[in-house]
Amino acid sequence: MKKLYRVFWWFLYTAGAVIVQQAVPGVDALMPGFLLALQENRPRQTAVLFLVFTLVQEGAGSLGFGTAMLSYAGAALLFRMSHGFFVEDNIVFISMLSACLGLYHGLLIRLMCAIQSIPVDFEQLLRESLIQTLAIPLIWVPAYLSRPKNAPAAQ
């Protein structure tokens, strides 16, 4: 029953994130959920969410395939590199990680646009990278507090 509720929670989270993305253009509201999944350390759950979130962002985005995949893979890599130094479920850690992810978002979009010969609106990209940096902790906190708590899976 608890497992079913956890799955249902992800459905609710994804729907809520899609609504947030509709309201705030350019923001990735699924990223805090992905970080939450990384913190719970359940490889199968993380893999499924990686697939679903990638498909949603790739399908709705206007860049060629691969950007969302690189975005979530980069987030996972940054998380793995830094989680040993900090307490994972701490807002300070998430804020620092979100600053790195905001910078990574800007660099990744810049790179993908250059590869696909798409002119970039730098002002807009900078603004959205900043919004992304602020949005991650703002979404992560309520998601973390509402997430049903269980002991994390064995490493």
């Binding site: 899609v18 993305q21 509709q22 253009p25 790739e58 985005g61 206007s62 002119p119 970039v120």
Partner: protein, 249 residues
Amino acid sequence: MEIVGYVLSPVVWLRDRFASWWDGYLALVDVAAENARLRAELEQARAASLLASEDKAELQRLRELLGLEALRERPAFAARVIAKRFGPQAVLKTFTINKGFLNGATAGTPVVTRNGVVGRVLRAAPHTATVLMLTDSGFRLAVISNESRTPGILTGSTERRLEVAYVAQNARIAPGETLITSGADGSFPKGIPVGVVTQVMPGNEILFLQVHAKPLVDMDRLEEVLLLKEKGSAPPLLPPAGPQVRTEP
């Protein structure tokens, strides 16, 4: 894209219902004072309506002149805007509509409103599609000015303006002229208004003028759009123009 459509369509529906209910509630709060004010306004409106009827007739004539005849020639269907620049990868100026290729919104389908060109379908899922806006720097459209008949290729830009490329140095195009589709690109029918010329300057290149324009459609306030189907694929949205032939019973 399809998943996003399934999630957003009910949200848009709920938002509309809530807005409608809220408007109704607010209307009841101060209905007596509103009634007195409206009586006074009615008198003013009666006077204004005399002038408005003349404006309406003029607007109708201008619309006819500006070429919304395309809607009489081409079958069209309406779609609802459900999201604008959705997600972190929405680098291009796009929006999502609630019609997909199963409804006839295939890639390249022209998208317009009553005011003019909005863009074209970039890619389509079964029930949703992404529309590339006129203002995107990757958008290209063959246009012609309505007075001097100067042709050019209209493009968007990263700034909030349109640019018309390949306009000859000796062209007589002037600020204030309306740009309409020329039909030369084969996708948009001829005569749909696109924008108004705002600035004409000698170009950096020797051969071409530098022409700036602004779109006629307010891209920030789009709610519904019309998609133009291929000619002959369905009956047109509006009845054909010209004298109507009545058949006696």
